[in-house]
Each structure stands twice: as C-alpha cells, then as structure tokens.
C-alpha cells in the first residue's frame, strides 16, 4: 500500500483547522557575510514561534533535486510528485490564469517568424507583450472551434501564449510542433500514440489557420506549439484527506495548482495584507488554508538579498494577526529554496515549522536553515508534511489494531 492509499483509508473529518503558509522559495544558503536571508532578517515573531514548535527541514522531492513550482507544491499538498506530473502546457496555462478541466489539453505557444518555408526566429523578435495581446485577440476572434474542439487562447509575455483545447477524445501524446532550431522548416504536431491523434489533427489545423491569419505580420507570422499536456487527474484533497480546502494566492499559477487538487480559490488582492485579510474573511468557511506568499521567490530569483530579507520581515510583522486566528495546526515553510546566491530554485532542504498542541517545543533560537536542522522533525520529505498536519489535527485514525 502506498502513502496516498494509506492516508485515504485513515483520514477523518473534524472541526480542527490547518493553516499551511508557503513562503515561496523561502530557503537560502550562506551568502551575505556568510548568512542566509532568514538569518539576516529580523523576525522576532517567527523566532518565538519556532522556539515553541517542532521544526525541521523538508526535502521537496529527493536530495539534490531542484523542483519547479508544480512538484514542490504537490509534495506539500501530500501528493507524490514523482507519481503525479503536471505538464508544461498545463503549468503555462495555469500561470496565465486559464482554467484547465479534466479532459482538456493545454499547450505552450510561441509566435515565430517564417521566411521562405523556414523558421528564422523562434521568438518572433520577442514582440512586445501589447502586440502579442492584439494578435491573440485576433486569433481568438477568428478561431473559436475546430472539429468540435473549443480553442481557448491567452497571451503571455512577449512572444509567448498558451492554448487550451476542450472537447471529446483529446489526449496529450503529441510531439512538439517546433523545429527547436532556427533555419529549419516548420514541424507539424504528430500523434505519438493513437490517443493523441485528434489533438494532433486539431492543433495542426490551428497552426495552418493561424499562419494564414498572421501572414502579413512582419515578424509574428506563424506559431509553434509544444508541451502538449492533459489535465493531470489528481484525486482531490476532499476525497483523500477529507479536507475542505481553500487557497489564498495572488499569482495565477498557484491558484491553478490549488484548483488541480480540489481547493477553492478565494478572491484576494495583491499585497500580503490583502491576503491576510482574505484569510480572516474565509476563516470560518474551511478547515484547510493554503496561504501563498510569492515574493520571497521572486526576489530570490532576482538575486536581491535585501528585498528577500524585507519580504520575510514583512511576513514576520503579520504573524501575530495570523496567530490570532488560532489555527489548530500551523505550518510555516517554503515549497523549495531560492537562494539569492543562485538566483534560481535550488535543491536545498527548506525550513519547516509545525505548531500544534501536540508538538515538541524545540527551543531553537531562530527560525533558520541551520536551526531547523536541529529541530524535532529532523530532515524529512515534504510529501510527508500532509500526514504530519493531519496527525496534529487529530484527523488520522490509527493504522491497524
């Protein structure tokens, strides 16, 4: 029996509330004067809470593996990230705020430049985002449906867009319609298995129609498609964990990821304060709350040490309000590390704090990478976090007699 089946068989409902706060890309590595962002940040509230909680470090996927946002979040939501795969097309669509339903196929698209039968620029000279929007408006107006399959388009930045195909009989076993290198002729999508046939046909027709519509544009006169991916069909948190979950997140991708596992998504504003106000407003209506703070990761990717520190400090200043809600179980962690030294996601285990009436009080002096390592949770896999949260909410029956 696997972990998921085990939890499914043991989870029960009760009135206890679990709050999972994800400070995206929270973890760091020694950087400024040999310190991490968390070590430099002034976080009296987090430090006090950590001293009275069980702490540890969580491994997002496996040691040494740097996760994208998809696998990292799936782990924290209790799903084995090696079992459930979220395709690139799906993530792109979710990131642009598109809805993706079971049965849909999502694809990433590029505007590109075609000259004399060859793709000469796979990014159409990185056309301005505003121009992209106009072109997507045009395509959306002219191509609404192909062979009974609904075509839904949305602009991304510069030359990027996403497409969702919605209809019967669509599979994602389709090769990329992208020559990968410039100077080669366009490549049509091809079914890799029979299940992908209809998708490949529809996508091929879309490319032909789009190329016809765009033919007079000086740079963006064709499109490339790649990352065909079906809705990952993940069993919902309601079903496995018997939770009634809600997501509070400002960025579309995280709202989309939350929806994939069955969370409702609360309307909220752009600031951390907005998010915490939303949390307060929906507090009585749910029993599992996923609160996502994005900017720790954004500044990590920018390599901006000071700004990442500031965001951590801003969160710390809001912590007392959060504690006033009196969650029965509170977890504060990241989905992965984004050390400003690396300017990217990384494989380093992530500080993790769990507070409930049934945790140890580890007495560590500050909430940091090094201190958490000495905590009572040790170093563990993020995919086990859900069982720990449910256990601390007394929401898991005993296994066996």
């Amino acid at each position: 029996m696997e972990r998921e089946e085990l939890l499914r068989s043991l989870a029960v409902k009760n009135a206890r509330k679990i709050l999972l706060v994800v400070l995206d890309g929270l973890g760091g590595i020694p950087h400024k004067d040999g310190k991490t962002e968390l070590e430099v940040a002034y976080t009296p509230n987090l430090d006090e809470l950590a001293a009275n909680s069980s702490c540890g470090l969580s491994i997002p996927v496996l040691p040494g593996i740097t996760p994208g946002s998809g696998p990292a979040h799936l782990s924290l939501f209790g799903y084995d990230p090696l079992r459930y795969r979220i395709g690139r097309g799906i993530l792109e669509a979710l990131g642009l705020g598109m809805e993706v339903k079971p049965g849909d196929v999502a694809v990433r698209g590029n505007f590109a430049t075609l000259r004399e039968g060859k793709i000469v620029d796979r990014r159409a000279g990185r056309i301005p985002t505003e121009e992209n929007k106009k072109l997507i408006g045009l395509l959306s107006e002219r191509i609404k449906e192909i062979d009974g399959v609904k075509i839904i388009l949305r602009s991304g930045r510069e030359h990027r867009f996403a497409m969702v195909l919605r209809g019967e009989g669509l599979g994602d076993e389709v090769s990329d319609a992208d020559p990968q290198k410039e100077g080669l002729p366009p490549k049509m999508p091809e079914a890799i298995s029979p299940s992908g046939r209809k998708t490949a046909e529809v996508a091929g027709k879309f490319m032909e129609m789009a190329t016809e519509i765009l033919k007079d544009h000086p740079r963006a006169n064709t499109v490339l498609l790649r990352g065909f991916s079906s809705h990952p069909k993940i069993p919902h948190m309601q079903e496995i964990f018997k939770l009634n979950p809600v997501a509070i997140a400002t960025y579309p991708m995280y709202r989309g990821l939350a929806q994939l596992v069955g969370m409702e998504v609360a309307e909220t504003g752009e600031s951390m304060e907005d998010e915490i106000n939303t949390l307060r407003q929906v507090w009585k209506d749910y029993d599992f709350f996923y609160l996502h703070i994005k900017k720790t990761d954004s500044y990590g990717e920018d390599g901006d040490f000071e700004k990442k520190v500031k965001i951590i400090e801003e969160f710390d200043s809001h912590l007392p309000e959060i504690l006033k809600l009196e969650p029965d179980v509170l977890v504060i962690t990241g989905d992965h590390s984004t050390p400003t030294k690396l300017k990217s996601h990384s494989w380093h285990p992530v500080p993790f704090l769990l507070h409930s009436p049934y945790t140890f009080k580890d007495g560590i002096r500050e909430f940091s990478e090094i201190s958490c390592r000495r905590g009572s949770l040790g170093i563990f896999y993020a995919v086990d976090a859900m069982a720990l949260m449910l256990a601390n909410a007394l929401r898991l029956k005993k296994f066996g007699a």
Copy 2:
C-alpha cells in the same frame, strides 16, 4: 530488490545474541511542566547506557501515522507493515491467547440482542464477562465442527468473543455479519470473492446454530461476526534473518504477534521481575530475545503520567540485571509512542537505544525523546531496526563485492 529480500540474502548465523526490549508505548510529548514521562522518570541506568550507546528516534510506519500494536511490532521485527497486514479477527484471537495457524480464519464476535427480527442491541447490554464465559462454554460444547471445519471459540470482555475456523479451503474474503446499526435485521456473512465461499457458509451456519442455542437468553440471544481474517502468512524470522528467536511477554496479543513471525514463546509470569527471570532462564537457548513490557502503554492510554513514569523507573532498576547477561546487541525502545497527554497511541517518533561493541557513544545526558534526536542514529524508520541489530551482531554479509 526490497529490504526483506536483501536481508534474506545477507543474513548469516553466528553465536552472537541480540536482545530487543520493547517498552510498549514508550514515547511521550511535553506534558507535565512541559516534560515527557521519560524526562521526569529517574533513570540513572538507562541514562548511563544511553551515553555509551547509539541513540535515535524511530518512525513506526510513516511520519504522522499512528500505528496499532500489529504494524508497530511488525516494523520492529523487520517486516514492512504496509506489506504485511494483520487482520482484526487475527489480532482479537491472538489477544485472547488463541493459537492461529496458517490456513485458519479468525473472526471477532459480539453477543447481541434480537427482537422481532431486528438487532436491538449490538452488545447484548454488555453482559458481564462471567456470563459471556458460560455462554461460550455452552456454544463450544454444542458446536465443535461444521462441514468438517473446526470451530474454536474464546470469551473476551463483556459481549466480545473470538472464533477461529480451522479446516480446508477457508478464505477471508467475507463481509461482516453485522448490520452496524441497531434496529436493522441481522445480516448474514457473504463471500466477497469465491475464495470466501466456504468460510461464509460455515460462519452462516454457526450463526444460525448459535441463535437457536441462545434463543432463551434474555439479552444475548444471537451473535454478530466481523473482521474475518486469514493468517497473514509472514515468512519466519528463522528463514529471513537466520535467527532462533524467543518472545517473553505477559499479554496474549504480543505472544501471538511473536508467534506469527516464528518466535517461540516462553512461559512467564505477570511481573517485570518474572519476565526478567524468564529471560535469564532461556538465555542459553536462543540468539534473539524479544522482551515486551506492556504497562508503559497501559498507563499511557489511561493518561496516568505518574504511573507511566513509575513503570519506566521500575524497568530502569532492572537494567543492571539485564546487562549482566551481556547481550552482544541490546536495543531498548518502544513500538510507538503513547503520550499520557493524548491517552492513546500516537505518531511521534520513539526513543531508540542500540548498544554493541560497534556503536558510537553518543554521550547524550539522558535517555529521552529530545536527547535521542541528537543521537548518532538520527530519525529513522523502525523497519530498519532489524538490519541495524543484525549488523551490530555481525550477522549480515557484505552486499555486493
């Protein structure tokens, strides 16, 4: 290759002796003045031994999972508790001291009250245990065999009993013969798959015969049956680990669990002193000794902090006698935690101490949940304990060249 197959291929016999002491439900969480039972207990002998041993914390099944006695013990005995499942009927029968053999099916039974074709009390008004014994005596005398299947009955407390069916062609794919709710008509056992057919027939006839025999009893005039379970067919410790093991335990369930994995069971008395005398007596005859102390768990479940502390202290006072036997490998741990604060088994990792000539001397100051966390074994899965014990007894060959 799985862990079990690996150990099977590497284990060898030698003269070294391993002693596994299981203080049932040993682990606790901060409770009295923020301390655990182990922290409050005065345990100079355990503390000294811990300082000269390798310590750690063991996770019985998976993080967050609270195990019953069955899975928790299987782990410590080196068996994957998610691979081998011990059914409720088997555990009930073992708990009442019944022998269960390969091919047997065991069932939990209730005396119940039937009125005008409906079950009006699923517990027969919780008849006194003495009355239960008389009724089981009567049924045992009148129903010895059905269709060539031997019927073996034993009284439990109040309305409970267990039944073992012994004969050819019995399977446990049988639905519960229990309406689950009062006010409903009796439910007969039904085969869920063809392998359960004979069992369902025999059990159904037993219910009819029992109801006829009991018909004049004012309350206990019928029976319900549930938890049909086959002998779990676990490969013996002799076969996998090349051990010659013996169990010393006062409670029937643990004696039964030990038998399931091939241990012989020594006759012993009720007290800890009796058990240790027995250990001394059988010391020359075996090479693996499982010594089970039950009351740490019992008082944990009662929520009696002081008495759990006293049992730990009692064990500590016996430790010097145990050390005089000079086991080559000594482990002292629990099968799971039973914090008095929770009055139940819990998911918290369990203090674990391993002593051999080949362990580190962790120098921890006391044997406790928090100190063990800093030990050289770290936090590990209990199912790995057997390999650690065998390794420290130099009973495992090198894997690969």
